[in-house]
């Protein structure tokens, strides 16, 4: 008699790697072969996860067609199963998988569209948060201002694409063939900010310097370090816009090394 863990590992190998033998030995036939019984569960498993990927990547699904998507999803699922039943968080690696998929090479922008869709999906399901109370900033001593480290709103994602990924994504989801045909696929890199507003998910184009500056801030660099890192950007105007849009939810003050080891936080 197999121990429970041994049995569950055998069923896993049967369902995912399609090596039915070890599991089938422990399953009663009773008029239907063990392999056929396992296949019922395998169909549900792959069907549910393919559906979860289709919900997160609707534009990729339309770009490649249902049959191709299903075949690609099946290979992806075999290589990357979810870590939990919270399936909204499943599929992070799909864009990188598409990069490695030889048959997808004819659509070089496909992984970037997938990355944008993943950012949109994560923004849709990001935790509900309160934006930073701006009065907290007003109370700061001027000497501390350069040492601010912001905590970004969890819905904010920054995406860089060598292709006009946002235009493709919009046109494909709107099924707007005219708009799709009009896109200049070459020489149109995009620097994008994805966020969830009260009205829905917003995909906003930034200039390259604004994107770099925002990326520094969202990565937890101090305000002064972000300003120093990027030239050609109106840092104070951009910061004001980010604050007004609720793109930060908290901050800490990184004290100069001589002053203190720890930092204080405020929400």
């Amino acid at each position: 008699m197999p121990a429970l863990l041994e049995l569950q590992r055998a069923v896993y190998r049967g369902l995912v790697a399609r090596e039915d033998g070890d599991a089938a030995r422990h399953i009663r036939g009773d008029g239907l072969a063990a392999a056929a019984r396992l296949n019922i569960y395998r169909n549900t498993l792959f069907g549910s996860l393919t559906n979860a990927l289709r919900l997160s990547y609707p534009a990729v699904h339309r770009l490649v067609g249902a049959d191709y998507f299903e075949a690609a999803a099946q290979t992806f699922i075999e290589s990357e199963l979810p870590r939990s039943a919270y399936l909204d968080a499943y599929g992070a690696g799909f864009a990188d998988f598409l990069v490695r998929l030889p048959s997808a090479a004819s659509l070089p922008y496909l992984p970037d569209v997938a990355r944008l869709e993943w950012a949109v999906s994560r923004a849709l399901h990001a935790p509900d948060v309160e934006p930073l109370d701006l009065r907290r900033l007003a109370d700061l001593a001027p000497v501390d201002q350069g040492h601010i480290r912001f905590v970004p709103n969890p819905s904010v994602r920054l995406i860089r694409s060598s292709y006009p990924a946002d235009s493709i994504w919009h046109a494909v989801l709107a099924q707007d063939d005219a708009a799709l045909a009009a896109i200049d696929f070459a020489n149109a890199p995009r620097w994008l900010l994805v966020e969830r507003l009260s009205t829905g998910v917003n995909v906003k184009r930034l200039t390259e310097p604004a994107w770099c500056y925002t990326t520094e801030l969202c990565a937890g660099q101090t305000l002064q370090a972000a300003i120093d890192a990027v030239a050609d950007v109106d840092a104070s105007a951009l910061l004001a816009e980010h604050l007004a849009a609720g793109r930060f939810i908290a901050f800490t003050i990184a004290k100069p090394a001589a002053a203190a080891q720890s930092s204080e936080s405020a929400r």
Binding site: M1, P2, A3, L4, L5, L7, Q8, R9, V11, Y12, L15, V16, H26, I27, R28, D30, G31, L32, A34, A36, R37, L38, I40, Y41, T44, L45, S48, L49, A52, L81, P82, R83, S84, A85, Y86, L87, D88, A89, L124, H125, A126, P127, D128, V129, R196, G200
Partner: protein, 299 residues
């Protein structure tokens, strides 16, 4: 039942159970707006716990709907039957959904889905052994302690049986309820589907369940597949109206258990809200008939 679980049941679960012994429907995303617009005359609603994790629009909808309807949470992914440890991150996500929506009932399945730290997205059957019983009881206890409330465990539909199973499913789930103080979510369609697939007696299954542990009933549709070798297989796909035989079995259940919160589930090819309300109306009529009979018996 231990003294500890008795205490939990009396001052936690029973008092907070705001789900009436009436008919409800499973709420799916397709019907969020319709429920807010129509405000159907429905005693309660149930949602899948995993669909309301994180934040965003679905949770905002459920916040609004929750103001007018008692809500039950039905989880599909805790994997109480896994030999490995429960995923405490997932348990914490469930706790957060429970905290936000203050549900009348919280349920999970008698099944497993997690092995080697990955989630196999289906409700897989357990071998009915003493070892599996110990594992499930330990995980039910852990869940009830963590959530600080009792939960219900649902009997699964299944398409295979293991050679080394030694305990009938109805005895297995009865033992879990007795040992942990949890309740039973009696899925009538699952009893019917599994009984047909495995040659069990569905009425005997019902008759073996402990009346006082039944906290909720589920009803759903299934499909019948005639296989080439002549074998008839029923698949619990929640994609159709409740079958006539399942309604009959539901009447048997009501006669034995008395009125219980009863839910219509529909997950594939979800129809317009009116179809679900129509199914619920049928359950409501049967519930009322049972209630009247009980009343007459008491008088």
């Amino acid at each position: 039942m231990t003294a500890k679980s008795m205490a939990r049941r009396s001052d936690g679960w029973t008092r907070r159970n705001s789900i009436p012994a009436q008919a409800g429907i499973g709420l799916r995303f397709q019907h969020h707006q319709a429920v807010l617009d129509v405000r159907p005359d429905m005693a309660w609603l149930e949602v899948h716990t995993e669909n309301y994790m994180g934040g965003g629009t679905p949770l905002a909808y459920l916040d609004s709907i929750r103001r007018d309807y008692p809500i039950a949470l039905h989880g599909v992914g805790l994997s109480l039957g896994s030999a490995e440890a429960l995923d405490v991150d997932h348990l914490e996500r469930i706790r957060q959904v429970v905290e936000r929506f203050d549900p009348g009932l919280v349920s999970e399945h008698l099944s497993w889905s997690v092995v080697n730290g990955v989630y196999i997205a289906d409700l897989l059957p357990l071998p009915m052994t003493e070892e599996a019983l110990d594992v499930v009881c330990r995980h039910v206890e852990q869940t009830q302690t963590y959530l600080r409330r009792g939960i219900l465990i649902e009997n699964p539909s299944s398409y295979l049986q293991y050679r080394h199973s030694t305990i009938p499913e109805w005895e297995f789930i009865t033992a879990i309820a007795a040992r942990t103080g949890c309740g039973i979510l009696c899925d009538i369609n699952n009893i019917y589907v599994s009984s047909c697939n495995h040659g069990w007696n569905a009425s005997a299954y019902l008759a073996a369940l402990p009346i006082e542990a039944i906290g909720e009933i589920h009803l759903a549709g299934h499909t019948v597949h005639q296989l080439e070798n002549g074998f008839t297989l029923r698949i619990d796909d929640h994609g159709a109206r409740v079958a006539a035989d399942v309604w009959t079995l539901y009447e048997e259940a009501l006669a034995r258990f008395g009125p219980r919160p009863t839910l219509i589930e529909w997950d594939n090819n979800v129809p317009p809200l009116e179809v679900l309300l129509d199914e619920a109306a049928h359950a409501k009529a049967l519930l009322q008939r049972t209630g009247t009979r009980e009343h007459a018996r008491a008088a």
